[in-house]
């Protein structure tokens, strides 16, 4: 009986494939295939119709032609606004990643060195805010940074300033918002890395006469390189395309590419240009995404052995 069922199992497509096929097909169909369609539509022409773009395949005089319209890309190159926006997005993403690292590294370090019994509670306290609504946490800063908001009221009450500081709707507010919402994504991978360090290495360095800061710079920081890269990528890549934070906290002229894409799509209803903007953004991000994937794959393999 058992032999029969085993033989039957060999004949049927193995249970293995039942596990492999659904996630594979889902991700291919809904994550990979759409990029091909974005690429296709970035070569189309915008038109007032449903859907609002032309077809690439055209049949004229029994001739099947593929018409690739390069206008959208030329438009991105010619209009200096787009170039400036890409540069400014990368700059904002880089600076806020650095700020997250400066604030997050000592936090992760302190938690990793804390007593084992409180570590879990501390890391939960770091993660917990990101389980509440992202939108609402950005909204909280409007009330704080406004001209007659909490921060200005507090500083005027202290007598530090007598004119309200103009912070909301500036780049400073955008940086605050980004660091605030993305900080947990920096602290988590750093903590996961730092907590695994062998303390004896630091002790050895002390025994050999190293000062605490020397031990930190020469041992702890190099050992945590993988965590620094993972945390930085987890912050930087999504921030490049961030829309909500510059929209709610930034100035009307805070240039970020996610916002431009949103406007091209929803306000101008120019789907082909929005697609071209997305394709260029993807090309810019392909190297960081590959770096992140490489780290993530290594992390998973490292756990396996």
């Amino acid at each position: 009986m058992n032999a029969w069922t085993q033989r039957l199992q060999k004949l049927l497509p193995g249970g293995r494939w039942l596990v492999i096929v659904p996630p594979y097909v889902w991700m291919l169909l809904f994550f990979a295939a759409p990029f091909a369609i974005v690429l296709k539509i970035s070569f189309a022409k915008s038109q007032i119709a449903i859907p609002p773009y032309t077809d690439l395949l055209q049949i004229t005089d029994n001739l099947l032609q593929i018409v690739l319209n390069l206008d959208n890309y030329l438009y991105l190159v010619r209009d200096s606004l787009y170039f400036k926006t890409y540069v400014s997005s990368l700059k904002i993403a880089a600076i806020s990643t650095l700020l997250c690292l400066l604030l997050g590294y000592p936090m992760a370090y302190a938690i990793a060195r804390a007593d084992a019994s409180v570590r879990n509670v501390l890391i939960m306290l770091v993660v917990l805010p990101s389980w509440t609504s992202f939108l609402i946490r950005v909204y909280a800063w409007i009330g704080i940074l406004k001209n007659n908001g909490l921060l200005n009221n507090f500083l005027m009450w202290l007598g530090v300033i007598d004119q309200p500081l103009h912070i909301l709707h500036t780049d400073v507010a955008v940086y605050i918002g980004i660091v605030y919402t993305y900080l947990p994504f920096m602290v988590l991978p750093l903590y996961a890395n730092l907590v695994k360090h062998d303390q004896r290495l630091i002790e050895a360095a002390f025994d050999l006469g190293a000062k605490p800061w020397q031990a930190f710079l020469k041992i702890t920081v190099p050992l945590s390189k993988a965590g620094i890269i993972a945390g930085s990528m987890l912050v930087m890549i999504p921030v490049v395309g961030e829309f909500v934070i510059p929209e709610l906290l930034g100035a009307p002229d805070t240039l970020m590419i996610g916002r431009v894409l949103w406007q091209e799509f929803f306000s101008n209803r120019d789907w082909p240009v929005a697609s071209a903007v997305a394709i260029v953004m993807l090309i810019l991000l392909i190297v960081p995404i590959t770096m992140f994937h490489h780290y993530q794959a290594k992390e998973m393999e490292g756990r396996l052995t």
Binding site: G15, L103, V126, T132, F134, L135, L183, P238, A278
Partner: protein, 280 residues
């Protein structure tokens, strides 16, 4: 005698970080009980904004849409994410494993505007070619949310799966259980906490999503974040503070219960191990 030492720099920094993380949320909670419409001027205690929130039909409808989508999304993501985790941690090489690894990690960092735009263009093209997804709504939002939630669930579940001792599974297999039986009787109970964590994570990610949802939703399906966003764009409103307080409250109570339950299970496990050791 214990020497009093100055607290370490990193400990002070940790405290600063926690103030930074929690002060804004605290300000939201305090001003949700403010009488005045002006969010930042205190004029007396009142719960009237909670009443206003409860009477806002549109807001409640949007919340109901969001809760339903989040429930479907979380459930689907846990099923698909568990399959994906098994593929990555338990299966030897198979054709396309590397590609699949890329497909699973990329959504973790992909900017939302790109994911949203590409999924919308997919739905539009599919309705053009095959006549499906013609009307966008809960169904298309569900598909879009599952697509990025699966990655997060996979990270949570596969890190648990790689901690599980494989020799227990192998022992069951040696005793004649087939793969399916091993999974449902041995592996599943051991990774259950990760499945719960993954489900909750997917639920909150879905409940909170604005950008992807805005691209793929139809005119008849407004979700809670879309409603909140359009109201926040017009400025601060005590009603949103009330909503924020409810959300923060639910998350913290749930987190506390989860923490208490896990601590209790851990204690029980240790006690069981002690008893077993005594008997042996």
């Amino acid at each position: 005698m214990k020497r009093l030492s100055a607290p370490k720099v990193s400990t002070v920094w940790l405290a600063v970080g926690f103030v930074f993380l929690y002060a804004p949320m605290l300000s939201l909670i305090i001003y949700s009980f403010n009488e005045s419409r002006l969010v930042t001027v205190w004029s007396g205690f009142s719960v009237k904004w909670y009443g206003e929130l409860m009477r806002d039909e549109q807001m409640l409808n949007a919340a109901w849409v969001s809760l339903r989508v989040a429930f479907y999304t979380a459930t689907t993501s846990v099923v698909i994410g568990t399959m994906a985790s098994l593929m990555l941690t338990r299966f030897a090489r198979f054709p396309g494993k590397t590609l699949f690894g890329g497909l699973i990690t990329a959504p973790l960092v992909m900017p939302e505007v790109i994911t949203g735009l590409s999924l919308l263009l997919l739905f539009v093209s599919m309705s053009d070619w095959f006549g499906v997804f013609g009307s966008r709504g809960i169904m298309t939002i569900w598909i879009a949310h599952v697509t990025f939630c699966v990655s997060f669930v996979t990270v949570v579940v596969s890190s648990r799966l790689s901690e599980v001792d494989k020799s227990i599974e192998e022992a069951a297999m040696d005793l004649g259980a087939n793969r399916a039986k091993v999974f449902f009787l041995i592996t599943l109970p051991m990774i259950a906490p990760a499945l719960v964590a993954g489900w909750l994570l997917a639920f909150t990610l879905s409940l909170d999503n604005l950008v992807v949802t805005s691209f793929v939703s139809g005119p008849a399906s407004t979700t809670l974040p879309m409603k909140v966003f359009s109201s926040v764009r017009l400025g601060v409103s005590p009603k949103i503070n009330a909503l924020a307080t409810i959300m923060i409250g639910v998350v913290f109570v749930a987190a506390f219960i989860g923490w208490w339950w896990m601590a209790r299970e851990e204690k029980k496990r240790k006690l069981d191990m002690q008893l077993a050791a005594q008997k042996g």
